[in-house]
Each structure stands twice: as C-alpha cells, then as structure tokens.
Amino acid sequence: MKKVFAGIGGMATAMLLGLAPAQAQDTIKIGLIMSFSGQFADLGTMMDAGVKLYMKEHGDTIAGKKIEIIRKDSGAAGTAPDVAKRLAQELIVRDKVDIIAGFSLTPDALAAADVFTESKKVAVIMNAATAIITARSPYFARTSIPLPAAMGALGTWAAKTGGAKKTFTMVTNYGPGIDSEIAFQTAFKAAGGEVIGGVRFPVANPDFSAFAQQLKDSKADSVYIFVPGGEQPAALGKALAEHGVTPKTVKIFSSGELVNDEPLKSMGDAALGIISGWSYSWTHKSDTNAKFVKGINEMLNGRNPDQFAVSGYDGMQLIYKALEKTKGNADGDTLIAAMKGLAWESPRGPVSIDPETRDIVQNIYLRRVDTVNGKPQVVEFDKLDAVKDPVKLQLKADGKLNPDGTAK
C-alpha cells in the first residue's frame, strides 16, 4: 500500500514539473481565441488567414524571440462567451501565454475582460466591434473597427450628401447592431434627416422577407443596414431584392459585411448602388493592399480578404511592432504602453492606436457598389481621415473616461 502511495506521489511530482515547464526565455506565446467552427466559423478562417499571412511575410522571430501561436476554438457551442472566458483563463494559467488575440464576437471579449485586468496580460481584439469593449479593460487594444465611428460618418454623409430624407434602420439585435443603429440614427438626425422606423432582428433568423416588407411599407426613401458575417448578409440582400428594394428605388446604406464578396455575388446587379461606410475593402487602391490581397488569395484558394482578414493581419502587425519597441518584453504594462500611439501603414491605409483609448484610429471610406469588369464591386469614392471612436470621445467629454482608457 505504501508503495502505491509513494508511486502516486512520485508521479504527481513528475507531472507537476512536466506541466509547468520553466518558461523559455526566448519564446513568446500568443493565444488566438477565435470561432474556428460554428455559425461564425468563416470569421475565424479569415482572421486566422490574416495572422498567418503576416507571420509568413515577417517570420516567426521578433527581437530575437520566437513567436509561438496556440489556437483555441471559441465557436464550438455557437455563441458561448463563457467558453471564450474559460479559454482565456486556460491560455494564461495552463499554456502560460504572454499575449492573447482574436475574439470574434463582442460577448466573447466582454466576458473575458476581467481576466486580462486581473492577469495583466495584453489582449489584441481582432474583430469584436462594440465601442465600449476597449473601455472594459486597460489591457485591451483593438485593430478591427469601432462601429460607431464608421456608422456615424455614414449617417452624416447619407443625410448631407446622399440625399436621404426619411430613413428606416435594420440591424441585428445584439451589442454591435444596437451600437451602430444608435450611431447612424444620431448622426443622421443631427444632419437633418428623419428616422421613420426601424427593426432589430434576431441573430439567428432564416427568412428576412417580413422585415423587407416592413421596410417597403414604411415608405422610407432610404434604409440603413447592419448585419454581422455569416449567412445573414446574403439572405437579407436577396430578400430586399425580391421585394423590389434595390438602390434604384430605395437608397441603401450599410456596414461593410453586406457588400463582402459572397453576398455581392448572390445579389448580383440588385446590389448596384449600395453605399457603405467601412474601413476596408479588398478593392482599396494601394501597393500595401495589392500585396496583401495577393497573399490572401494564395492562402485561401482565390478568395479575397475582408475586414476580418485585415484586422487579423494588423493585429499581428501591432503585436510585432510593439514587441520590437519593447525589445521582446511581453509584460502586460510594458507592452500595452508600447502599443499606445503606434502607427503603421495597413492594407486599409494609415492606422494608429489611440494612446487614450487603445482603440484603432483609421480612415473610414465611403464606397458604392459599381460594375467593374462586368461584375458588381465595391468602389471607394470618399473618405474621412483618422476617425476616432465617437462613443469614447463622448465619454471623455463627459469626464467618464479614466486615464488608462477604461470607463468609470
């Protein structure tokens, strides 16, 4: 009996030692929490392609340290923020990662915020787009797109230049959707437009014809649309076309997802004339972008990159550049300090990290769907330079923003 206990004890010690390896000084571990499977699997595919492309271009060593990536799937159970939170904890506790990146959806990032505050680890948010996220932990930095910034710009443009007078809003009923609805409506009203109605639809919704009919019956001259990735953009676009709602009859303003490649292909000519305000399209004209598009094309069998891919790419870029600055020191406080104010040339144009809010500052482009080479394609026609998130600007103006960028 004694022998058995001694054996178990020995095994335990061995496993303890084995499981807690002395942190190799020359490796930096980055955990990626993304939805690789489930409803939002494609988001993960795109973001990860961006990450992989950046590492392919820039190697896997930085400041003399090797970068090691550990991928975790947060999409397994659909939208399960508790899973994302557990994965973040486990990456830190079990895998001893130095940095975490990814986060496909807002709830995932919000649920995990406390983990980073407590562990003092930096998290780079590569998609989750609700404005308030970066104010929830001083260790969050974001390279995607704070929605209100883009949607506010779009709202102003729609009323002032776009010729919209009475508008109807259609958004998905969750954080980012509500955020963008408020931003668009506020800006639209401030610019003299009238919001005559709106609808928020569920995240899982197979048929949009009821909502298309509502829009039609509202007699609005324009509509604003926000839908997340997945099957919704194409389904909604088709339902609108089917009910005779095309840019020829009703002006359509939307976020970027509605005019990504797949929905555009499905909608065909019915999409011509849709106006979107967004930070990235693969049609953006710059040398950096041409190279980036080529890289993603090669990686994904000819698919073009979208916002998710560029956010993933820039997320890695931010991490590399910050590590370069700290000479490989991944300590949370040092690293987040290094990230503040960093600026670089992204495939979407010049971007920087706002030192006050740790959120991205970038150009917002106004784009129209036009026929290019016989196919509908997004074409940029106007831009606003270096847009900051208005929600946090408002917080700051109200004195509700702490010096570290968190909300009071």
Binding site: E90, L110, A111, N173
Partner: protein, 333 residues
C-alpha cells in the same frame, strides 16, 4: 452475488441494503476527483466545468435513465438557474451559497409549473414539447434584452468571496472546490433519492408505464415530483456555471446545450448514476483535447467518437463495460 451467508435465514432487507451500499469503486471515483489539484493543477477551470456538466447530466439522468422520459430541452432549467443566480448577483447580492439556494428554488418552481404540461403528453410529442419550451425560453430571454442582455450576455455579475474568505481566482481553485463540493453534495442527495422507495417507483415507471397504475401508483403526481427534483438540480448546475464564470449567455438556454447534455449522458450510460458523471468528463475532456489539436475540424473526431461508442458500446461506456464484465464472468463460470 448473494448477500446472504449460507445457512442463515433469508433477510430481504439485507438484499436491498447490499444494493445501496457504497462500493469501493465509488469511493475511489470520488477520491480521484481530488486528483486534479495535484496532478493537473492547470486544468482546474476545465475540471470545474466538468463538475457542472456532470451535475447537469445527473439531473437529466433522473428523468432519462431512471424514469424513462427523454427530454431534449433540459437546458431550460440550466438557463433559468443560471439567470436567477446571475441576476441576483448582478443586482447586489453576490453571496454564492445563498445564490445557489435561491436559484434552485426558482428553478424548482419553474419545473413545477412546466410539469403540469409534461405529464399530459408522452413519447415523441413530449420530446418535441421539451424542445419547444427550450426554444421558447431562449426567445423570451432574448427579447428581454434589458434584463438579460440578450445575445450580448448578462454582464456585471460580481460574486463575493465564499464565506467572505475564498475569492473566485483566475486559476479556478476556488471554483473547482466550490463546484466539486456542490456536485458531491447534490450527488449524495440524488443517490439517496434513487435508492429510496420513490427511486424504486421511478425505475418502475421506466420499466413499465402500464403496470404502475395497476399496482396503485399515481403516475402523474409521481412524475411531477421527479420533474421538480430534476429541474432543481439542473438549476443548481446552471447557477454554479453563472457564479464561477460570472457571466450568463443566451447559450445557457440553447437547444445545443440540451442536446449536448443528453449526448454526455448516453455516452456515459443512462440509468447508472455514474454514467452522467463519466460521460460528462469524457465528453468535455475529448472536446477540449480535440479542439486543441485541431481547432478547425475537431468536430469530425468528436463525431467519430460518438459513432464508435454507439456501434461498439451500445448503452454507453458504463453499459458496455457492464456487458463486458458479465460476458467475462459467464465465460468463467
């Protein structure tokens, strides 16, 4: 296995007692649940989630395995428990243990109300009604965006320390101790229930619904009691989940969660008390490990595992093991 010593007068009480007696394997099992503290201290968060899933599966086993009623909507109770505990903590009362009690009472009440519907129907319709109720509750929680946070999840759940001493830490130490103790205590209660006259009448219902009224059993009221008990413990599992993750998502009420817990239970073996526990552990560990190895296509391996288990071990892992042991024994004798 005759519990009688040869020659002594037959004592039926002893025979029944032999069946409910604690076996060595059971004690080893529960001692082994402490092993992660020593062997895999970095996996304590996963362990606490396994404990929660195990309790959830156990509560379902009371219905599926012992009473013979299939439910594909058990997440209703998990979700109600999670939201009650979460909302209580969010609105200023973050004491965990009273939160658990509160959540299980609320869930038991919901279970009682729902039981009036459940006892009216059987078979496929019953399964579908459980699915329907699960979806219905999900929609309600979703449309009460202001209360539940809808798709964004319930934020701002702040738990106090247990007894004012043990804080829920990042490493999941407190969480695992807390969930393990809660699961073990619940297990003791459920074990007693299963080994009670009431538990025997549950097994009677599973074995033959037609005979029960003929020996005087009021089926409906008996079923209502088991629905309430099962709901209560599912709610407890939900509350544990809300408290240890300090977050509640709509997913707590989802069809997926209902289906998943049923998969865990069948995987382990329904109607065997430990089936749910083993199934939950197997499923969660397999998912965790497979997802780590292959984050994009791990679904394939999980699916393959289920298919293999069903083809080679019908009645789940424990069922398969029991059949194996029987076969070996009969070959020997």
């Amino acid at each position: 296995m005759n519990a009688q010593t040869p020659g002594a007068a037959f004592n039926p009480q002893e025979v029944l007692r032999a069946q409910v007696r604690w076996r060595a394997l059971e004690i080893i099992f529960w001692v082994a649940t402490l092993a992660p503290f020593v062997l895999t201290p970095n996996y304590l968060i996963l362990c606490s989630q396994i404990a929660i899933a195990a309790l959830f599966a156990l509560s379902l086993d009371l219905l599926v395995g012992y009473s013979g009623i299939v439910s594909l909507g058990h997440a209703v109770y998990f979700g109600v428990g999670a939201y009650s505990a979460g909302l209580l903590a969010k609105h200023g009362w973050g004491e965990p243990i009273s939160g658990l009690l509160f959540a299980s009472v609320v869930t038991a009440l919901v279970g009682y109300l729902i039981s009036f519907i459940m006892v009216r129907i059987t078979h496929f319709a019953l399964i579908m009604v459980t699915v329907g109720l699960c979806l219905l509750f999900g929609e309600i929680a979703n449309s009460l965006h202001d209360v539940t946070g809808g798709d964004d999840g319930l934020q701002g759940v702040k738990m106090w320390s247990i007894f004012g001493i043990y804080r829920f830490d990042m490493f999941g130490r407190t969480a695992y101790v807390y969930t393990l103790v809660a699961t073990f205590l619940s297990f003791l209660v459920l074990r007693r229930i299963i080994n009670s006259p009431f538990g025997l009448s549950l097994r009677g219902m599973r074995e033959n619904q037609r005979r029960m009224p003929a020996i005087g059993v009021p089926m409906k009221s008996r079923l209502q009691v088991v629905y309430v008990i099962s709901a209560c413990f599912a709610g407890l599992a939900g509350a544990l989940s809300a408290q240890t993750t300090q977050f509640v998502a709509l997913d707590a009420l989802s069809f997926q969660r209902s289906a998943e817990v049923l998969v865990m239970l069948i995987l382990g073996g329904a109607g065997r008390l430990y089936g749910g526990l083993i199934g939950a552990a197997m499923f969660m560990v397999a998912r965790d490990q497979l997802a780590d190895m292959n984050p994009q296509y791990w679904y394939f391996w999980l699916g393959l595992l289920l298919v293999i288990v069903i083809i080679f071990l019908p009645n789940g892992i424990l069922g398969g093991l029991a059949a194996l042991i029987d076969r070996v024994r009969s070959r020997r004798s």
